[in-house]
Amino acid sequence: MTQQLPEQEQQQKNIYRTALISSVIVVGMFGFAFALVPLYNLICDVTGINSLFTQEKRVRIDADDIQIDQSRLIKLEFDATINGNLDWEFKPSLRSASVHPGQKMQTTYLLKNNTDQVITTQSIPGVTPWQATEFIKKVECFCFTTQTLQPGEAKEMGLTYVIDPQLPEQYTTVTLSYTIMNLDRDSVIKGGQQGPQNVAVLNK
């Protein structure tokens, strides 16, 4: 009863083969998505296609050798943001400063941990307008390292910077912004879900 003709058997074999090949491609493409995580970073590092700046073309100069450009003042604004919904304090000690390009300046950011847990943080810088990014040179920055704060501990974190005199003329105000991130992944997941409160506000 299950006797099949050779051509039918052959067709059934072909069907399974095509379906198998397709399934292997499906599994492969699922894996490809995950393989992209390291590949993406690698490709971006090697080719630099993920960045609008062409850093190689400009001559890099040492912060100490920069000549001070007395002819203009740049208004540098400092900004601080806390990533997520966390009970910290994070703010610049100075809201803004007027500096000559080439002048080496110092300022501080204040961080306080109001939670009852030890937290480790890292700050990610951002510059607006983005075209000015490569002209804000940090000699020393708290963003280079991580900070660990005990419950209730407060910390003043230093920042030394120089504005490159090659900063194009049209930029007179530059905002330097730091976003502070919690590096403890577990507490991000448990504490970071900012659901119900927000819904309550929005549905009012």
Binding site: Q8, I15, A19, I25, V26, A33, Y40, N50, Q193, L202
Partner: protein, 534 residues
């Protein structure tokens, strides 16, 4: 030949099942196709209702009916439902119904898999509805990220985001399985003599659609799985706080999302490739070039995804590549249009409803093509990005390009599916009603977009009021027209002038078209003995 049929009958195909078993346990490609089509019709009304909420809210500036959070949730789900719940299942339903009949196969290659891929859809739809409901019963923040689901906002939503991720998994698995089935059927089940280059264009179109889906859908499933890991398992694929990069998700999404546009478009190009020769009573002009054009389109579509991300800060070198690649896409699209226009050239044209839709598609899809080239140009796109100009562009691409193609297919094949002719007068009324109201809805959005109205925001500046009022009135008319569509379909199923095996005079122009050799409606099992194609 007869001996094949005898053994075939022996080991398979018992009596036709009845009642609910016929549908739930169905392995029959026609029944599964019907279920796909009804599912798509249901989702069309669900997604359409969401569009009505959006347009009602946007009728005048300020907040009228819904909260911003719910509004954002509505446009997110409108897109997901229309793409995953409506266009893809409707196209898959037509593939199920027509492909085995067109190539002379008794059924799909893997009938049980076919059953599974359909029944995953209602499960996915249920998840999606739960995701909408969850915020109202204490499930946290609704999904407000838009269908692109970009992190970090999609990481911050409540449990409705998890439900949406599972929705995408289910619908994704469903369409992957359906694609494997269709590609396998096309490659292995063709009747003797039905060579690849004799296949009707619809079959070719679905072949490329299937291959695209097999390539892109798993990558997207991987992407949303990473989102799920980021949300619950402490990874940071896309969370900058842990060293991840949210831009990576954008690349993963659009690696899927751009070819997805062609997944939606190609089945309709396939329908056009059937409808235009039929009502021109002439073989398709340049069959081979159309097939190669579709292959070129599918290939090119895989490597231009980042034109959705010009503003993300890629290097000039990278944006240049994506710009040129994107503009090149107008070549195969233009080729297809000329295929159809030259098919009509000196044909004996008649203008039944499917043909009217076909001509409207050729015309209106060209608008989307022109705005598409505008958007592809980087310096211009930086202006247009995330404005209503983009909304107008992709609705012109997807409503004529995909949805009207499906309407053309429905009217073209309804006589074959039901055995009754549809009411031509009502069909034409439906055509004019949808086409006019569609244009009233979306044409003004070009202007409001160029004037700077941003998309995905519940409120807008008062200077855009008139454009939005026109748009909303058009949208209500467009929505209402679909009740007529529903009525026509029900009326045709219930009765009407009996349709002959070949209801359209020019139906077999050019391609062998085996679907017209069986009766209307076709018997439960067709081609148990493979037909011979000369």
């Amino acid at each position: 030949m007869t001996s094949i049929a005898a053994t075939h009958d022996d080991h398979d195909h018992h009596h036709a099942p009845t009642g609910w078993r016929r549908w739930v346990f169905s392995t029959n490609h026609k029944d599964i196709g019907t279920m796909y089509l009804f599912f798509a019709l249901f989702m069309l009304f669900l997604g359409g209702a969401m569009a009505m909420v959006i347009r009602a809210e946007l009728f005048s500036p300020g907040l009228q009916f819904v909260s911003p959070e719910f509004y954002n949730n509505m446009f997110t789900n409108h897109a997901l439902i229309m793409i995953f719940g409506m266009v893809m299942p409707a196209a898959a339903g037509m593939a199920n119904w027509m492909i085995p009949m067109m190539i002379g196969a008794p059924d799909m290659a893997l009938p049980r898999l076919n059953n599974l891929s359909f029944w995953l859809l209602p499960a996915g739809a249920l998840m999606l509805v739960l995701s909408i409901v969850a915020p109202w019963v204490g499930g946290g923040m609704a999904v407000t990220a838009g269908w692109t689901l970009y992190p970090p906002i999609s990481l911050q939503a409540g449990m409705s985001m998890d439900l949406l991720i599972f929705t995408i998994h289910l619908l994704g698995i469903s369409s992957i399985l359906a694609s494997i089935n269709i590609v396998t059927t096309i490659l292995n089940m063709r009747a003797p003599g039905m060579t690849m280059m004799k296949m009707p264009v619809f079959v070719w179109a679905w072949f490329f659609t299937g291959v695209l889906l097999i390539l892109i859908m798993p990558a997207f499933a991987g992407g949303v799985t990473m989102l799920l890991f980021d949300r619950h398992f402490g990874t940071s694929f896309f969370d900058a706080a842990g060293g991840g990069d949210p831009v990576l998700f954008q690349h993963l999404f659009w690696f899927f999302g751009h070819p997805e546009v062609y997944v939606l478009l190609l089945p309709s190009i396939g329908v056009l490739g059937m409808v235009v020769p039929t009502f021109s009573r002439k073989p398709l002009f340049g069959y081979k070039s159309l097939v190669y054009g579709m292959a070129f389109l599918a290939t090119l579509g895989m490597v231009v995804w980042a034109h959705h991300q010009y503003t993300v800060g890629m290097s000039i070198w990278a944006t240049k590549y994506f710009m040129i690649g994107t503009i090149l896409i107008s070549i195969p699209i233009g080729l297809m249009k000329f295929n159809f226009i030259f098919t009509m050239w000196r044909g004996s044209l008649t203008f039944e409803t499917p043909m009217l839709f076909a001509i409207a598609i050729i015309l209106m899809f060209a608008f989307a093509g022109v705005t598409g080239v505008m958007l592809a140009v980087v310096p211009a796109d930086l202006q247009y990005h995330d404005t209503y100009f983009v909304v107008a562009h992709f609705h012109y691409a997807l409503i004529p390009g995909a949805v009207f193609g499906l309407y053309a297919g429905v009217f073209y094949w309804l006589p074959k599916w039901t055995g009754h002719m549809y009411d031509e007068k009502l069909g034409k009324l439906f055509f004019w009603w949808t086409t006019i109201s569609f244009n009233v809805t979306f044409f003004p959005q070009h202007f409001s977009g160029l004037a700077g109205m941003p998309r995905r925001i519940v409120d807008y500046g008062v200077q855009f009021t008139e454009f939005n009022m026109v748009s909303s009135v058009g949208a209500f008319a467009f929505g209402l027209s679909h009740l007529l569509f529903l009525y026509i379909i029900i009326k045709t199923i219930r009765g009407g002038e009996p349709a002959p095996a070949k209801p359209w005079e020019g139906a077999q122009a050019g391609t062998p078209g085996l679907e017209w050799t069986v009766s209307s409606p076709p018997p439960f099992h067709t081609f148990e003995t493979p037909p011979e194609v000369k």
